[in-house]
Structures are given as C-alpha cells and as structure tokens.
C-alpha cells in the first residue's frame, strides 16, 4: 500500500544566511539544480518566476503530498455533511414534511457534496499556506528580477557541507551571475 512520506511535505525555509547566484534561462537553472543535487547540498532551493517544468526532478524534491490532505479533508467534510443533516432532521428537530421519512437521505446529497468539496478545498489551501510559509509580509526578497524573468539558485548556510568560499566558487562555476553572500548583518 502506498502511504505518504514526510519528504513529500517539504517546506519552504526562510532565507537568513547563505549564497545565491542568478541564472538567465530555465535550462540554466535546471542544469544548476542537477549539479547542486549531485554535490549533495541538502536543503538548497531555486527561486523561479514561474513553475519551470522538470525542476522538481532536477532538485530531487518528491511530488507534493498535498493530495493526501485533500483526501482526508474530503472524507471529513462528507462525514460532517451526513451527520449534521441526520442529527438535525431525524434526531434534534424531527419535522414531518409531506409525510416523507425523517431520514430522507436522498435530499441530503447536494449538501453532502458541497461540504465535501468545501472542506477538501479549504484544508488543502491551508496546508499549502503552512508549507509555503505564507502569509508573511516581512520577508526577505533576494532580487527583484526573480519574480519577473530571472532564476536563482539558493544554497543556505544550513546545507550539509556548506563552506562559504567553496559555495561561492561552485555557484560561479555553474554560470551564476551576481553571486551574493547573504548574512543577517547585511540585511536591511
């Protein structure tokens, strides 16, 4: 049986300290991500203006585990829909409408469906916000072009085997421009 793995719920990490380099094309960032993965800098990240196809494989991040949240939340919403309507109509406030049975469950279906969808959608989005660390208004932006047309490779200090000068020359060797060391004291 296939069960969710913890790595599927990979989280976004704050950019406190580390090194980043800028790349100009999606091909370049994918290539850089592959090389960084081979180098075993665990915990590195790429900053992209749009979802680049193939970056997950290059970085070695597993497919998101959020569909599991959707599944569980959907069942939860469905159960609430059934229980709530049954409890109110057949138990708490039984009302005889046109002689129909108190638990006329066919008529419950629209609301069960709506609650299933509502719960599945809202909980999944809440989980996405949690994993992406949003909303947070005070966040460090590495470079203004990264949400427009350029790509960045980010290697944080927490990455295994981090050594500042080594990482800087490594990012440069991949073709990264504007390679910058980010330190808390440099921050605005």
């Amino acid at each position: 049986m296939y069960l969710p793995k913890l790595e599927q719920f990979h989280k976004y990490k704050e950019m406190d300290e580390g090194v980043f380099g800028i790349f100009e094309t999606p091909e370049a960032i994918i290539h850089a991500a592959e090389k960084t993965k081979e180098k075993d800098y665990i915990g590195f990240d790429c900053i992209l203006p749009y979802p680049v196809h193939g970056i997950d494989e290059a970085m070695g991040t597993p497919r998101s585990g959020l569909p599991w949240i959707t599944f569980v939340a959907g069942i939860f919403g469905c159960a609430i829909g059934i229980l709530f309507q049954y409890l109110t109509h057949a138990y708490d406030w039984p009302l005889n409408i046109s002689g129909k049975s108190l638990n006329a469950w066919f008529a419950y279906v629209p609301i069960i469906f709506e609650l299933t969808v509502f719960s599945a959608g809202i909980y999944t989005v809440a989980a996405l916000c949690f994993l992406s660390g949003i909303p947070k208004a005070t966040r460090r932006i590495l470079h203004p072009d990264l949400t427009s047309h350029r790509f960045a490779l980010w290697i944080p200090k927490s990455a295994k085997g981090y050594n500042e000068s080594e990482v800087v020359s490594f990012v440069k060797s991949l073709g990264g421009s504007e390679v910058t060391v980010v330190k808390p004291e440099n921050q605005k």
Partner: protein, 457 residues
C-alpha cells in the same frame, strides 16, 4: 529551435503569445495597466458604473424601508426579477471556472491568456447573484437565517431538504472555492508587482497582498498540485451549482419546471452565457490595455466556437422540452409550453430563440469568428437572450394549473433598477480589479511561451 516549436510550425499552430516577447516583456506589458495612472476612458467608465451602483444602493435601501410591494411581484409570480437576475449572474460566473478549471484539466494552454479575467468575472458575478438571492427573501437583514447555526430559538434548524438551503450551500461553497483558486493564482503575480514597485505605498500594498511569496521551487511544486486539486474540485462543483440552481425549479411540481432535462440544460446555458460575457470583456480589455499579443485572435476564436456549440446544445434543449411536453400527453405540460411560445409573454420566448439559437450560428464561418465587431455584438446578443431565457422560465408561473389563479406580471421601475444595478455593481468591481491586479496571469502565460519550450529537454 526546439522540437516542440518545430512541430508547432509544421502544423501551423499559432503561438499563444505573439510578437516575439521575452519573459521580461511579458511582465512589463501586463503590469503596465496596474502601474500607470488610469486613462480618461477608465475614469469615465468607472464613474458611470459607480454612479449606477450608488443609485442602486439607494434604491435598494428605499425598497427595504418601504417593502417589496414596490416591485411587480404578485401571487403566482412571487420571485420576480430577483431570481431571473440570480440565475443569470450565477450562469455568467460559470465560464470563469470552466476556463480556469476544466481547460486546466484538459491541458489547454490557451486558457492562460484569459483565465485570470474570467476568474475575476466569476467572483464578481457570483457576488452579484448572491446579493439577489439575499434580497429576494424580502428581509435581507435576516438572511443569515439561511445558515444552520445553534440559535436562541430552541433546537430550530434550517430545512436541509429545501432547495433554497441547497442554494445557500452551493453558492457559498462555489464562491469560497472560486475565490481561493483565483487568489492563489494571483499571489505570484502580486509578488511580481511588489518587486517592480518603486513608490513605498505601492510596495507596501503589494507586499501585504502578495502574502510574502518569493517563488521558491518547493512552494511552486505545492502550488501547482493545489491548482490541479482545486481545478479537479471546481469542475464537478461548477456542474453541481447550476444543477442545484435548476433544482429550485425542477423539484417543484409546476408544469414546464418539473423536468429532468433542467440540470444539463441549465449548465449548458450557463457556459453559453458565461463565455459570451468573457468575449465581451476580453474584446474590451485587449483594446483598452493593449494586450493583443496575449489575448490573440486564436483565443477569441476558441471562445466563439465554444459559444456556438453551447448555443446548439441550448437550442436542442428548447426543442427537447417541447417534444417531451407533447410526448408526455400531459395537458398542463403541453399548455405550459404552448403558453410560453404563444401566450402573453411569447415575445420574450422569440427574443430568446433568436438571440440564443440563431445568432451564434454566425460562428460557423471562420471569417466571422475572427471579426471583432461581429463577435462583440453576438456576445451581447447572447447575454440578452440568456437573460430572457430565465425570464421565460419564470414567466411559466403566471399561468399554472388553475385559470382562477392566473395573473400577469408587470415589472415596475424598481425591478428595472435592480436589474441595471446588478450590471453597475459587476462592472464597478471589475474595473476596480483591473486597476489593482494583473488582468492576465503573468506567471502562467510564461509557462506557455514558445521560447520556454524545450526547457526540460
């Protein structure tokens, strides 16, 4: 040249973004209307619709101070224009979800040019529809009674078997899921605007709106999955909402309403009118905001084709209704349909037929599908026709089983004010939105650009 591009050229598939734009050009072009000072045209239009809205709000206030007797509603026709407007606007909303969700699931790249505006249209249309649902109850300040909550009146619960309660749940679920879907897609684009902003106030505004999005690949990976999940959830949701709206009519035992064709017929009508509204808005937006490279003729052509197909489906439904009424042998049912076409409201029926069935037939011709004035007029005509479709359905009420209970419905000035007011509110919200947020999904358009292809080879 990448293989994919070579295939596109060979098959003569038009590019979804024309004009040889680079990634940066896309950002600059789409963000421009948000960053520039609004044009005179925008101000004039905005002030016009804002005035309509304010007048409408005042009229609504007066209406509820005085009471619903100011409207043309009477005993057989108990809902009047409110429900016509409600069904009409909910229908308009559906195209937005279809473009963003169904076309997403079918991997239709062309949706990216129009999905953002269509989703915004959905939200504003559903808000307008919901306001009509609340207003029609007569005492809107008690509208919250529609929600089940533990209350001070003892264990008194709402009746979950009532279509009105189904509507409440369907519309509020639809509104919340659509809003979340729309806003999630907006977050990366708002981050783009934040990073481009030069003035402090603008930077602060978009900083808050963008939720602190940086564009980490890990976040993108989750966001893409969530977009897919929400698309997969919205697709049945959009069908269910209009199905449930049709249940308002179909679960009754009134001739002409109590028919099993209602759910699919309503859904097709919703797509039809919604796409017509998207065409209307897109034709204006691409002119006003100079977005012809992003909303290309190919996009409009595709939407015109969808309008034609759904128009045919709606036409088939009209025919089926008539056939089944005759075939059932039920004299009340036969009368209801005869009355629709040749009764006192027959003029509305023929407006409906000519607008909805005949006018979209112009799109059989490629030349007319690519003709901006033709499609603009056709889209307006279809919207008029679809409003009349709902009017015709409601007018079935004026003559039901017993001639002694027949009565004519004459809308008053207040009814018309409510109708015009819905357009005022819708366009006010839409124009405001166009100023603050990008009308095209910046990040999503970049994923379908020609030069981007081959990124993973």
């Amino acid at each position: 040249m990448s293989l994919a591009q070579a295939v596109r050229d060979k098959l003569d598939i038009p590019d979804l973004v024309t004009g040889g734009k680079s990634l940066k050009d896309v950002t600059v072009d789409i963000a421009k209307p948000n960053e520039d000072f609004p044009t005179k045209l925008w101000w004039n239009t905005f002030l016009l619709v804002l005035t309509i809205t304010l007048i409408d709000v005042a009229i609504i206030g007066y209406l509820f101070y005085e009471g619903l007797y100011l409207l043309g509603i009477n005993n057989p026709v108990g809902w009047g224009f409110f429900v016509v407007n409600f069904v009409f606007w909910i229908g308009i909303g559906h195209a937005g979800t279809l473009i963003s969700a169904v076309l997403f699931l079918f991997r239709q790249g062309w949706r990216t040019g129009i999905n953002r505006a269509a989703e915004a249209m959905t939200i504003f249309a559903v808000l307008v529809a919901a306001s009509n649902l609340i207003l029609h109850v007569g005492r809107p300040w008690l509208g919250y009674w529609l929600f089940p909550y533990p209350n001070e009146r003892g264990p008194l619960w709402v009746n979950f078997r009532s279509p009105l309660i189904w509507d409440t749940f369907a519309v509020s679920t639809y509104l919340s899921i659509s809003m979340v879907f729309w806003y999630l897609g907006l977050i990366p684009d708002l981050a783009t605007l934040r990073d481009r902003a030069t003035e402090t106030w603008r930077k602060n505004l978009y900083n808050v709106l963008a939720f602190g999005w940086v564009g980490s690949a890990r976040s993108w990976s989750h966001l893409e999955i969530v977009s897919m999940i929400l698309a997969a959830l919205s697709t049945p949701l959009v069908l269910s909402v209009h199905t449930i709206v049709s249940f308002d009519f179909a679960v009754s035992i009134l001739p002409g309403w109590h028919t099993t064709i209602f759910p699919p017929y309503f859904v097709a009508g919703a797509i039809f009118s919604g796409f017509a509204m998207v065409v209307t808005l897109m034709v204006i937006a691409r002119e006003v905001f100079n977005l012809k490279n992003y909303i290309t003729m190919k996009h409009l052509d595709n939407m015109n084709k969808i309008m034609m197909v759904t128009g045919l489906i709606v036409g088939l439904a009209y025919g089926t209704e008539f056939f089944i009424a005759w075939y059932s042998g039920n004299e009340y049912e036969v009368f209801a349909f005869w009355n629709r076409a040749f009764g006192p409201y027959g003029w509305a029926y023929f407006i409906m037929i000519s607008c909805n069935v005949l006018s979209p037939q112009v799109f059989w011709f490629r030349k007319l599908r690519y003709n901006i004035p033709v499609m603009f007029i056709a889209s307006l005509v279809v919207n008029v026709g679809m409003w009349f479709e709902r009017f015709v359905i409601m007018m079935t009420l004026n003559r039901d089983f017993l001639p002694s209970s027949w009565a004519m419905y004459t809308p008053t000035l207040f009814d018309y004010a409510m109708l015009i007011g819905t357009f005022g509110i819708f366009f006010t919200l839409f124009l405001l939105w166009c100023r603050i947020m990008p009308v095209i999904a910046i990040a999503e358009v970049k994923t379908v650009m020609p030069q981007k292809e081959g990124a993973h080879h």
